[in-house]
C-alpha cells in the first residue's frame, strides 16, 4: 500500500495495463478505485471528464500508449488547462528491451518535454518526491505532468 500513499492527492484512476505499473494497478483495483480504459486516449478523455466534474485524476499507462494520447494531451489538456498525473511505465529506458520498445523508449521523455509536459523520473524510493514535484507543476501551471517509471521503482 506504499504506492497508494504517494498518490493521496488523487481520487480518480484509469489507464491501460502495463507490467511496470502492474503492482499499482493491482493495488488500486483491490480498493475498487481503478477503472480500466480500452485505449490510452480514452483513459485521458475519461480522466479529463472527471477533472471537469471536480475530481483529481491520475492515468496509468505504458510509454507505448503515449502516441495514442498525444492528440488529447496537446489539443485538450494543455490548451484547456486540464491537469492530469500520468504514471507511465518506461519500457526501453536503457536501450536494452524488446525491439518494439526501443524507439519510444529512447524518445518518450523528449517527446513529452517538447510539447510542454514536464517529466519526472524517480529512482527506487523516490516516487513520493517525484509525484510531489509533478503535483507542484500541475497546480502552478494547470497542465498534465508525467512520472516515468523504470523497472524496480514500484517494486
Amino acid at each position: 500500500m506504499q504506492t497508494r500513499t504517494a498518490l493521496e492527492g488523487f481520487d480518480f484512476f484509469t489507464g491501460v495495463a502495463d507490467s511496470l505499473v502492474a503492482s499499482l494497478i493491482e493495488e488500486l483495483s483491490a480498493t475498487g478505485e481503478y477503472i480500466p480504459a480500452a485505449r490510452e486516449d480514452l483513459a485521458v478523455g475519461m480522466a479529463s471528464g472527471a477533472y471537469l466534474a471536480g475530481r483529481r485524476p491520475c492515468v496509468l499507462m505504458q510509454n507505448s500508449g503515449l502516441g495514442y494520447c498525444l492528440n488529447p494531451l496537446t489539443s485538450l489538456n494543455l490548451i484547456y488547462r486540464i491537469p492530469l498525473l500520468l504514471i507511465v511505465g518506461w519500457r526501453g529506458h536503457d536501450g536494452a528491451d524488446a525491439p518494439e520498445h526501443l524507439v519510444m523508449g529512447r524518445h518518450c521523455r523528449a517527446l513529452l518535454e517538447q510539447v510542454g509536459i514536464p517529466v519526472f523520473v524517480p529512482g527506487p524510493g523516490g516516487l513520493d518526491q517525484a509525484v510531489a514535484q509533478a503535483e507542484g507543476r500541475m497546480r502552478s501551471d494547470r497542465i498534465p505532468a508525467a512520472v516515468l517509471i523504470r523497472p524496480g521503482v514500484l517494486g
Binding site: 480518480f12 484509469t14 477503472i35 480504459a37 480500452a38 485505449r39 486516449d41 480514452l42 483513459a43 485521458v44 478523455g45 475519461m46 480522466a47 479529463s48 471528464g49 472527471a50 477533472y51 471537469l52 466534474a53 471536480g54 475530481r55 485524476p57 492528440n71 488529447p72 496537446t74 489539443s75 485538450l76 490548451i79 484547456y80 488547462r81 486540464i82
Partner: protein, 188 residues
C-alpha cells in the same frame, strides 16, 4: 432534418444537463442554439467526447450528462462503447448525430453508411437504445429518454447542413474549462 436542426431540437429542451459537444460544427451549432455554462465545447481531441462524458457521468452521479457525438468521431474511438456498456452510468445519454460524413472538413464519407452504430452500442451493453430519423421522432424520443435510466444510446440520423457554418467557439479553451467547472460547482 439537418444536423443543425437536430441540435436545435435537443438544445431547446435542455435543463441542467452537463453537455459535451464533439469537435467541429457540433460545438459551433450548439453555441449558436444554446450557449450555456454547462456546455463543454471540445474544439480539439476528436474522438474523445464520449470518454470525457463517461468520466463526468461517473464523477457527477447526481447530474445528467449528455454527449453530443458524431458518427465519424465515435468511429475513431469505438473502444468507449464497451466501457460505457460495462460501467453503466445511469446518468449518461450518448447521442450520436449521424450524418454519414465528416461535415466540418467537407463532407467526406464515414463508415456509418454501412454499419449501424446503434447495433454496436447494443452489443456493447447500453441499457437503452433509441433511434430517430425525423424531427418528430427526435422530439418524441428526446422527451422519452430524459426520464429513463441510462446509459442511453440515441442514434439521430440527419443530413449535413448546406451553406455557411455558424460562428467559431468564442471562448478560449481555458475559459470554457473555468466556466464549466463553475457550473458544476467545483471550487478553483
Amino acid at each position: 432534418m439537418t444536423t443543425r436542426e437536430a441540435i436545435g431540437i435537443v438544445a431547446r429542451e435542455l435543463t441542467d444537463e452537463l453537455v459535451v459537444c464533439t469537435t467541429g460544427y457540433t460545438c459551433r451549432d450548439m453555441q449558436a442554439a444554446a450557449d450555456r455554462a454547462a456546455n463543454f465545447y471540445m474544439i480539439g481531441s476528436m474522438g474523445c467526447a464520449a470518454s470525457i462524458g463517461l468520466g463526468m457521468a461517473l464523477s457527477s452521479p447526481g447530474r445528467r450528462v449528455l454527449v453530443l457525438d458524431g458518427d465519424g468521431a465515435l468511429l475513431m474511438g469505438l473502444g468507449v462503447l464497451p466501457m460505457v456498456g460495462t460501467l453503466k452510468p445511469r446518468n449518461l445519454i450518448h447521442l450520436v448525430l449521424d450524418n454519414g460524413v465528416f461535415a466540418s472538413t467537407g463532407n467526406q464519407p464515414t463508415y456509418s453508411r454501412s454499419v449501424a452504430l446503434d447495433s454496436l452500442a447494443r452489443a456493447a451493453g447500453y441499457s437503452v437504445l433509441k433511434r430517430a430519423e425525423t424531427a418528430e421522432e427526435l422530439k418524441r424520443g428526446w422527451g422519452e429518454v430524459r426520464s429513463q435510466a441510462g446509459p442511453i444510446f440515441f442514434l439521430v440520423k440527419c443530413r449535413p447542413d448546406a451553406g455557411q457554418p455558424m460562428e467559431r467557439v468564442r471562448l478560449s479553451p481555458e475559459a470554457i474549462t473555468d466556466r464549466f467547472r463553475e457550473a458544476v460547482g467545483v471550487a478553483h
